[in-house]
Chain length 467, copies 2
């Protein structure tokens, strides 16, 4: 596919659609739209457009279709798989002006939101009314809810409460041809036609541009308890995870951190209040929540009883909001900490949770074989392990040519264990070479056919998800 | 589209694929496959085939594609929208031999099941291991789990636990062209490609034939409490529903029954142990469940406090398992009871739950206007109201020509209230004339295009969902 380059006629058209203040093409303004949080990639758009209405987006997409101009939609640019990178240049469509919470419906426990609202801002707005929007990716303080929809983001609370897709009831979407649809209805049950809501969620901005989302909400749980459990063996920490669920407790957080993850995270925050004995290899950060403190204490007792079968050091109970915040902050900052320490690649592996020990063991074995160090952490309750591969002293040749084989081995194991290659970061640009591992050719072709059906000119976020 | 009639060559081909015992074409054997539970429809297939493996289905579908023979897949035939009716005759493909629970994975709280397993059989099998599969349509004792997937079935527990779609992790599907795919992975979080799992769920057997399903399960809740609350006003009963959620309680069942629903249900079971005072217009059947009895009592107290604001009669607490069973049995049998009393049409309306009073009021007003009686009941917690329109003394002319206008008014109101035309029964054959109410033409065309992409020869369950 060869695309048309942006010329001054296009710029003028864009200006006439969104106004002169919202079309950026000087190098300085464009720079921040050239990268996201994925490794060290940079791709420059030819022009950045900041629309305000679905109708403006519709007009822009019609222009792109007529002229064969590639368009890449972008939320806050916190993605970890390169979904928002304008790899074919063209137009970068920033959703940052779609930043309104349109309604919080307390009668129906629902909210209607524009996609450029920051996830945490949305969470806090509904919390003020006693309501709870659970999905909370580590980047919640800066990511957009629209990006969460595009990537089907998860986060620590997913283990009890599910991921973004479990909260979306209905979407307003501008299709690549410029037409506008609502995919569903604002109801909890729906058997009316095909579920295009769920087809759009996780489609990484390749099938349409979400311009409004209706979410279901929950009553905000009144209490929570948090504990940090040190293990002498990282594999044992992983083994304990499935046992806790089997004992009948569903924690609201069940995070795994290898020793280095906790150390690097703490150091990154300049926090040395947590001392980690030499022989501790990993931690589980376990949270329970609910409306009854007695029940939470009982849950903790059950968890303790399970942990007695494992070789743990002394458990740290967070004894107030400050300490809870600190522990969560360390957990959330690990990704950033790794990033500042070294060039790295983050693999978003996911397996059924009881297979986690096998996965961790294999990652370390493959690391030894290929000569890389990894720092692993993630949402153990969901079997979602973020494997951070550290470049450190690895040669460029090994990094570029050998490492992909190692990653392929890791992903192949995930699929053997009935898991897959991305739990919550998406395929985007960087993982598309691995799509043949979870899917047979029929399944890949079917997905490509769907893309082609929505976007026959391949103008919307091209060269993502599929090779 | 003109289809090929079945001839003896086709019959011989089918026999060679599945064996002579599993190809039925005598009138007597075929009769039971000519109808489901939708009104009084009958459509006769030319031949009934009972395959046992995905590969057999694949071969049959390839034959259908080559020869342009329509094929209608069928579960247990308990559907209420005519999805399993072979309206173009041709082949009826019964999934009844896909009746094995292949694995209950206690380590990962998952199960792999064939689609011809009866829902209740599946529920009981996992319950034996302390696990819980919540979706429980009224027909759970006879319906197949595959039919539940096709229609995205709900049931009373959906209000707390969600519907069928919320439990399916992965599907093995034979596509109309005979190719076989797995749609996802056996994991709780998945951001790997398009969500074809959710596209297949609720597609009513028009996009592919599910041959295996992987479900997530929960720990079985240890306790539940059930209460029956009589209201002097049906609208007030509906109003109380949203208030209970706003008070922070999420019941595991929140069923609404108009007076007649409860009376007809009781009578149908020959049970007259529940006396209903003359001036009682409706009941709410409210269940709470969980692992701590004290919490459940507290939940009931909160519910009681909310109900003090309403004009209720004395609340009946079910005091043992027998009484609970009886109350749920009455609730489940209402549909059947209505069916034996009169020719009827059941409309599966759904709105955001706080809009239920408006919906009920409008149904009654429209009934007066068009001269029909209705019996309403359903899953109030989800805003899912089953409107049973009773033919009784209505003329055939009014029934056939005027009533559709009344139904259109009801559905239009649902959509105005941000709801839609089917909560859990599907569109199938009988509701497809109303698809223009929730969806604009773009959205309808997009869905038709997806159907065409999967099934270009329109051989799989043709003439369903879309006009």
């Amino acid at each position: 596919m060869s695309y048309t380059k942006i010329n001054s006629k296009h710029i003028n058209q864009l200006i006439s659609i969104v106004g002169i203040d919202y079309v950026l093409f000087d190098e300085e303004s464009i720079d921040k739209y050239s990268h996201d949080e994925t490794e060290d990639f940079k791709f420059f758009p030819e022009v950045v457009v900041l629309p305000r209405t679905p109708e403006e987006i519709s007009t822009i997409l019609k222009m792109c279709n007529n002229e064969k101009i590639p368009l890449t939609p972008r939320g806050a640019g916190t993605g970890l798989s390169g979904g928002a990178l304008p790899v074919n240049n063209g137009i970068l469509l920033s959703m940052e002006r779609f930043n309104q919470i349109l309604e919080v419906d307390e009668r129906n426990l629902q909210a209607t939101v524009e996609p450029g609202v920051i996830t945490q801002v949305f969470q806090e707005a509904v919390k003020e009314k006693g309501l709870f929007y659970p999905p909370d990716p580590a980047s919640k303080g800066s990511c957009f809810i629209g990006g969460n929809i595009a990537e089907n983001s998860g986060g620590p609370k997913a283990v009890k409460y599910g991921v973004t897709k479990d909260y979306v009831l209905n979407l307003e979407v501008v299709l690549p041809n410029g037409e506008i649809i609502w995919t569903g209805a604002n109801v909890l049950k729906n058997s009316t036609g095909y579920n295009l809501t769920q087809l759009i969620i996780g489609s990484e901005g390749t099938l349409g541009i979400v311009t409004k989302a209706v979410f279901r909400l929950l009553p905000y749980p009144k209490f929570d308890l948090l504990m940090l459990v040190p293990f002498f063996s990282a594999e044992e920490a992983c083994e304990a995870v499935a046992d806790i669920f089997k004992a009948g407790v569903i924690p609201s957080g069940m995070e795994f951190m290898e020793r280095d993850a906790l150390v690097w995270g703490s150091n990154h925050l300049g926090d040395n209040s947590i001392t980690i004995p030499e022989n501790i290899q990993a931690h589980l950060l376990i949270e329970v929540d609910g409306n009854d403190m007695d029940v939470l204490y009982k849950d903790c007792e059950i968890i303790n009883t399970v942990l007695e079968n494992y070789n743990c050091d002394e458990i740290l109970f967070a004894n107030d909001a400050t300490q809870k915040d600190k522990l969560w902050k360390i957990r959330r900052v690990v990704g950033e900490a790794v990033k500042t320490k070294s060039i790295y690649k983050e693999e978003d592996t996911v397996v059924p949770r009881a297979e986690l020990p096998k996965l961790l063991k294999a990652v370390k074995r493959i690391g030894v074989e290929y000569g890389f160090k990894s720092v692993c952490y993630g949402h153990a309750g969901d079997g979602n392990l973020h494997v951070n591969i550290i470049k450190d002293k690895m040669s460029d040749d090994a990094w570029n040519n050998e490492l992909p084989k190692a990653i392929r081995e890791i992903f192949s194991l995930c699929v053997e264990l009935k898991g897959t290659v991305s739990g919550e970061h998406g395929i985007g640009l960087v993982q598309k070479g691995y799509m043949d591992i979870p899917f047979n050719q029929t399944m890949i072709n079917l997905q490509k056919d769907i893309k082609n059906l929505f976007d026959p000119n391949d103008i919307l976020n091209p060269n993502k998800i599929f090779l």
